[in-house]
């Protein structure tokens, strides 16, 4: 038996139980992505060519690799939060919703992990 009052149990818990944490994470990652994505976008645009040697040399620079790792990590996190809301909003069958949300979680860790590992391989290879 819980000793918490009925009011205490529902305070701060909407239908999704934890709205504000998700909301904040979405905004903070969004703010972080403004400089990160703009840096990536500009860097690619300013490269003289997009062939293997040019891109590889650019990404071997420690600062580029560091920012690229942050970009992939924060993008994966932000995108995971966003697509999760899309699934919550539009998929109503409980089993399908749970399955899709778990699938998204695995996919984002896989995709983000692969991207980050690739950058590290490029940056740390002799």
């Amino acid at each position: 038996m819980s000793l918490r009052s009925p009011l205490g149990r529902v305070l701060g818990a909407g239908s999704a139980k934890d709205g504000t944490g998700h909301w904040w994470a979405q905004r903070v990652s969004a703010v972080a992505l403004i400089p990160l994505t703009l840096w990536f976008f500009w860097s690619l645009l300013l490269l003289p060519a997009l062939d293997y040697t040019t891109v590889h040399t650019w990404l071997s620079v420690p600062l580029s690799a560091f920012l690229a790792v942050l970009l992939v990590a924060v993008t994966a996190y932000h995108s995971y939060l966003g697509t999760n809301v899309v699934v919550e909003d539009y998929v109503h069958a409980h089993a399908a919703k749970l399955f899709l949300m778990l699938l998204l979680r695995f996919l984002y860790v896989l995709c983000g992990g692969a991207g980050i590992f690739a950058i590290l391989r490029i940056a740390l290879s002799p």
């Binding site: 403004i34 997009l50 293997y52 993008t75 899309v86 692969a114 991207g115 490029i122």
Partner: protein, 130 residues
């Protein structure tokens, strides 16, 4: 269970399409598109780490007609999501809620994204990097 038969979102049919909800839905669509774009970005990075041969294969894939259409879509999706995202962040701190400001910033986000997309591709085209 009667709860199952309640009307659930999205009830798109009951709304008149106007700039507010159109841009909101576009924000979601571009967001999902960018999620797929992250998959492509990781694929590109992995092929870059894999050496010259695998990078060239991937670059050829992106340079195909379907690849170029996707890249163009991702360019617009990124720029629109960026501009409209900044618009959302302004609302979050309480700025620009008035009807005129809302509409003006909405049109600005769309037009700025379109112009920046075209400028980006013009720059790529001019540099001969396509």
């Amino acid at each position: 269970m009667s709860a199952r038969t309640r009307p659930l979102s999205p009830h798109l049919g009951v709304y008149r399409w106007q700039i507010g909800n159109t841009l909101s839905i576009l924000h979601r669509i571009t967001g999902v598109a960018l999620g797929v774009g992250l998959l492509a970005l990781s694929f590109w990075l992995v092929s870059l780490a894999g050496g010259e041969e695998s990078y060239r294969t991937t670059a050829r894939l992106f340079a195909s007609p379907i690849g170029l259409v996707c890249l163009f879509g991702w360019t617009f999706s990124f720029l629109y999501h960026l501009f409209n995202g900044i618009r959302h962040l302004c609302w979050d701190v309480g700025l620009g809620f008035e009807r005129t400001a809302r509409h003006a910033s909405g049109w600005f986000a769309v037009l700025a994204a379109l112009c920046a997309t075209l400028a980006t591709w013009a720059l790529l085209w001019q540099g001969g990097r396509l």
